[in-house]
């Protein structure tokens, strides 16, 4: 009885939402074809994959690749590095991009033109390749006339030059701030867009209530873009194991910092390099990363739900 009526309700709903369903079908098919169909390739993770052989000729080796991944003596070191840099990057890039957007939003009236200039310039580094940006970073940090060391000496903050890139304890932070340099402006764009959805009347009301500039930023602007922040935070948390590999590879492939610079992506590339097994090993590592993503995503989504914020799903 109950089932039947539920089913009836369901069909009713389907009928009512015919238009929405019809619109959704092509999207469903699109994602099915372009993202889900190729998933048969995940079988590679369980094969001694050789590209010259067809699917049926491959040798199945069970969880060997996963065992190799998890029992590698370096695995925990690269996981530590990955998580460390990922969290630093996540926090730094969110805080800086949001703060930048908030302050940019304060440039009004006579500074409106200036605002556009700042905005346009701030997103320029995003277009430079990592190799250019990292080259500039190494030059700036160099002991051989690098501007950072020269400034520190000139201001008397240090007595001897610091070997920034040869000191393991600095490395994660160098990567973090390099990321900020390259992406802060770019990352702030979405917040600037989100700010536009805030009703101007709210600011006027706040002004009447006696809120100052910072009060309005804190009580109006920030809450106004909160849902965007939360959603982006959840999405990015899902990529917790993608700490990148280019920066770390370019800045950190010297013996003095290798211990802290290798991320899981570099590790997988290295282990897979020069052998066709690399594809399979990479696939296995990719599956591991997907599992972690799903767990983190679900957790964050739950947390957002508990605290009553906008959910992802």
């Amino acid at each position: 009885m109950f089932n039947k009526s539920a089913k009836g309700n369901f069909l009713d709903e389907v009928r009512k939402q015919k238009a929405l369903i019809l619109i959704s079908v092509p999207y469903f098919v699109y994602f099915l074809i372009f993202s889900y169909l190729p998933l048969w390739g995940l079988t590679m993770a369980f094969q001694n994959y050789k590209p010259q052989l067809s699917f049926f000729e491959q040798e199945w080796i069970g969880f060997t690749h996963f065992r190799n991944l998890f029992t590698d003596p370096d695995f925990y070191r690269v996981m530590r590095n990955t998580l460390g840099m990922s969290i630093i990057n996540l926090v730094l890039s969110f805080v800086t991009a949001i703060a930048f957007a908030l302050f940019l939003n304060e440039l009004t009236g006579p500074f409106f033109k200036f605002k556009r200039v700042v905005q346009t310039i701030s997103y320029m580094p995003h277009f430079l390749s990592w190799i250019i940006v990292c080259g500039l970073v190494s030059n700036a940090l160099s002991m051989d006339g690098g501007i950072i060391n020269e400034l520190l000496l000139a201001t008397g903050l240090v007595k001897n030059k610091i070997h920034f890139l040869g000191e393991a304890s600095y490395f994660w932070w160098i990567v973090g701030f390099t990321n900020v340099w390259k992406s802060m402006g770019w990352n702030s764009i979405i917040y600037l867009a989100a700010i536009t959805s805030i009703d101007p009347a709210l600011y006027e009301a706040a002004a009447i209530d006696g809120y100052g500039r910072f009060g309005r930023m804190w009580h109006i602007t920030l809450p106004g873009i909160k849902s965007t922040i939360i959603i982006l935070l959840i999405l990015n948390a899902g990529w917790i194991l993608n700490a990148g590999f280019e920066v770390q590879y370019i800045l950190g492939s010297n013996g003095l910092v290798l211990d802290v610079s290798e991320t899981i992506d570099i590790f997988v590339l290295k282990r897979g390099f020069g052998r066709s097994g690399g594809f399979a090993f990479g696939t296995a590592a990719g599956m591991f990363k997907t599992v972690v993503s799903v767990i983190v995503l679900t957790l964050c989504n739950k947390i957002a739900d508990w605290v009553g914020e906008e959910k992802l799903i």
Partner: protein, 294 residues
Amino acid sequence: MRKSFGDKIIDGIIVFFMAIIVIIMVYPLWNTLITSFNEARDSMKGSLYLWPRKWTLFNYQSVFKTDKIFKAFIVSVARTLITTIVGVFISGLFAYVLSRKEFIFRKFLTTFMIMTMYINAGLIPQYFLYRNLGLINNFWVYVLPGLVGAFNVVVIRTYINSLPASLVESAKIDGASELKIYFNIIFPLCMPVLATVALWVAVGSWNSWFDSFIFAPKQELSTLQYEMMKILSSSMQSGVKQPDYLAESHTSRSTVTPNSLRAAMTMVATVPILVVYPFLQKYFVTVNIGSVKE
């Protein structure tokens, strides 16, 4: 609204910090610019900070030495325009659908879509898929795979959710169709976020070279970025063993290094796309909800 004295001080502080940020942020591109106009071998000596030491146009000549680059430029513009325009429209539509709280498949479709961000089947199955779809060495391989991005849809959906729900409801009561609501009400209100997504899609499409490398290596389909990667990688030859038959006297000034080429290429590839943003900026203003309602 007149600004108080305190406000003016705050303005001053903000402007001051923004000016510093401008200097820090403009420097990488500036350094790339002067490197691109400096003689390659001279650049190798380093300490090139504010102004070129030995001017040359040779780095740019090396980029533009054949007409391949111009053809590739057209392909790049085409793929970027098509992907951006079509992509933004249809991503927005799907975002609208997923923003409808009462939609029965909303949860399922959202999950289904978001998962695509975190799963990665790998390159080989992707190649087989495209081959079966006839996309190898086909212009549409530049457009189709990136048309609807889950990330973009989620971002647009979040924006739509922040709009007053009453907009859609009152339109429904008026008997408007879903497509009509999307095009007449949601789309104009979403201009800021759509402009953002357009920027993301355009920049992504413009900058990518990997899809040419793997899926469309045919010369006619070469893109600007791929063509530049080709020039760049061939200039790296000097890092490998030099063939013995070249009796170079090495006094010649007409030479390039990977770094000087990279600088010139970055300028060539970046300037066209940099222009897009100021153009999109005009959509970054608060939309008057009242005006759409009427």
